[in-house]
């Protein structure tokens, strides 16, 4: 196991989907024990970045080290071993819909440990208690609200006490109360369990309120990196537009298009 200061080190990452360049030389370092936020507008490849870190996608060039291991040089069994130490919370929760909340949280425990069922039961209830949803263990995922499903998914992600958790847009589509609950949970889990948390999000305020370190990415590159206060007060035009939600700036309101007159008079050609 690596003992470096950074749990995740990304160097010179290049990745394209079809003709579209998603990452064009990205360097990111994620320190152990903290909450690192990776922010940027929709379509900048934030989810792609998490999938690259988790080894679900392969970069065109560059390296990603997690806990001292080069993710994309591992054999498939080594990669699966590494993933046991990584939790990931998907945007939709990604709970298995044909089994109950209890079985969902128990799933990784049953897969990767030989614990007796009585012990699994205790662990599952404790994990559900940690996210405040012990009361719903009998329910099926389709009986839960979106926010609750995400919290159950969080309980599942921490079931094996991983060293890091990656959150994919945890705040999207949450009402203010579940948003508040999630923010508290992410901070509390990070500090109580000595986790390393990575949040990708475009919810500026919420993310900035808990992040220790913020990376802002745009157009395939890291635009800025620093503490959340630093980033919020940044003088960089791009960062300012994003953090303050300005309609126009370096990112234009209008997408690239031929002149309007040409389109209107062109007869639909």
């Amino acid at each position: 196991m690596g003992t470096e200061k950074n749990l995740v080190t990304i160097k010179g990452l290049h990745y394209s989907r079809g003709d579209k360049v998603i990452f064009d030389g990205v360097d990111i370092e994620i320190p152990r024990g903290g909450i690192t936020a990776i922010m940027g507008p929709s379509g900048t490849g934030k989810t792609t970045l998490l999938k690259l870190i988790g080894g679900q996608l392969r970069p065109a060039a560059g390296t990603i080290h997690v806990d001292g291991e080069d993710v994309h040089r591992l054999s498939s069994s080594e990669l699966y071993k590494l993933r046991i130490k990584m939790g990931m919370l998907f945007q939709t929760g990604a709970l298995l819909t044909d089994i109950s909340v209890f079985d969902n949280v128990a799933y990784p425990l049953r897969e990767h440990t030989n614990l007796p069922e009585s012990m699994i039961r205790k662990l599952v209830l404790l994990k559900l208690e940690a996210v405040g949803l012990r009361g719903v263990w009998k329910q099926m995922p389709n009986q839960l609200s979106g926010g609750m499903a995400r919290r159950v998914a969080l309980a599942r992600a921490i079931a094996l006490d991983p060293m890091m958790i990656m959150y994919d847009e945890p705040f999207t589509g949450q009402d203010p109360i579940s948003m508040g609950v999630l923010i508290e949970l992410i901070r509390a889990l990070n500090d109580a369990s000595g986790l390393t948390s990575v949040i990708v999000s475009h919810d500026v305020e919420e993310t900035a309120s808990i992040a220790d370190l913020v990376y802002v990415i745009a157009n395939g590159r890291v635009v800025e990196c620093g503490g959340s206060k630093e980033i919020l007060g940044s003088s960089n035009a791009w960062t300012r537009q994003f953090m303050r939600g300005l309609a126009d700036g370096p990112v234009p309101f209008h997408q690239d298009a031929p002149p309007l007159v040409e389109d209107l008079l062109g007869g639909g050609q």
Partner: protein, 266 residues
């Protein structure tokens, strides 16, 4: 390059692209099949996964197969009687019904029904699991979705298919018996004894079982591949489900001809 030449080259390029596309598609399907087969060893250690799928793939398809089998047998009894009675050969009705069922209609129609009932459900389920990131979620939990989700369904499909075909044939024979003996007055003893004398365990029954095993493999493989390869959108899943039924039906009918030629050809 002149315009007609360019147009011709474009046509050729399009043809080439679609050819490469088809080959890529086939390649991905075969790679998936290999990975699914690689998970069979793991499945032996987790028989529960297989039992659950045997229920949803096999048992839940049983009713439609049973009802269809009975009606097909009844129709065979009716049609067979009218033709055979013209030659005074109605005593051989049992042979005609049973041979048609165990050699052809049992495996083929059961497979077509299977593709429509279980195949489409498998594709939609896997496609939606992909669209809702459940497969990705399993991967990130260090669980191989192919071994855990696809392999049990694949094995269940192959095991269920011959059983469903056997059920189809058995109930079809009963349907033929009901119409021929019960309604049209064919001799009871002749119906069964002729059938027993002429239907061969290996030539007829075993060949039918081999057919249904092949159909089970192909239908389940197509259904799983279409689901796994589907675009993770509602349109993508809907197209994949349609493709499953169309491709499976065509594959079953085409393969049936080839297998029949191999088994019964001189």
């Amino acid at each position: 390059m002149t315009a007609p030449v360019k147009a011709l080259m474009d046509q050729l390029a399009r043809l080439g692209r679609s050819g490469v596309g088809v080959l890529e598609h086939l390649g991905r399907a075969h790679l998936l099949l290999l990975s699914i087969l690689g998970g069979l060893g793991d499945l032996v250690r987790r028989p529960r996964l297989l039992l659950i799928q045997l229920f949803s793939v096999g048992v839940l398809s049983a009713l439609i197969v049973a009802v269809s089998g009975t009606f097909v047998g009844m129709v065979l009894g009716l049609q067979g009687y009218y033709i055979l009675s013209q030659f005074g050969a109605e005593q051989t009705l049992g042979v005609m019904v049973a041979a048609s069922l165990v050699r052809e209609l049992g495996p083929v129609v059961a497979a077509l029904l299977f593709a429509g009932r279980a195949g489409s459900a498998l594709t939609a389920e896997i496609g939606l699991m992909k669209a809702t990131e459940q497969l990705s979620g399993l991967e990130m939990m260090a669980v191989d979705p192919i071994k855990r989700i696809l392999t049990p369904r694949f094995a269940a499909g192959i095991i269920s298919m011959p059983l469903l075909a056997a059920m189809f044939s058995a109930l079809g024979v009963m349907g033929g018996y009901f119409v021929g003996v019960g309604l049209l007055g064919v001799d009871d003893g002749a119906f069964w004894s002729q059938m027993q004398a002429k239907i061969d365990t290996y030539d007829d029954v075993l060949n039918g079982v081999i057919k249904s095993l092949v159909f089970g493999l192909v239908c389940t493989w197509i259904a799983l591949f279409q689901g796994y390869d589907a675009d993770p959108t509602s349109v993508g899943v809907s197209r994949a489900t349609t493709r499953t039924v169309v491709h499976s039906s065509l594959a079953v009918l085409g393969l049936d001809f080839i297998l029949t030629a191999l088994m019964f050809g001189e």
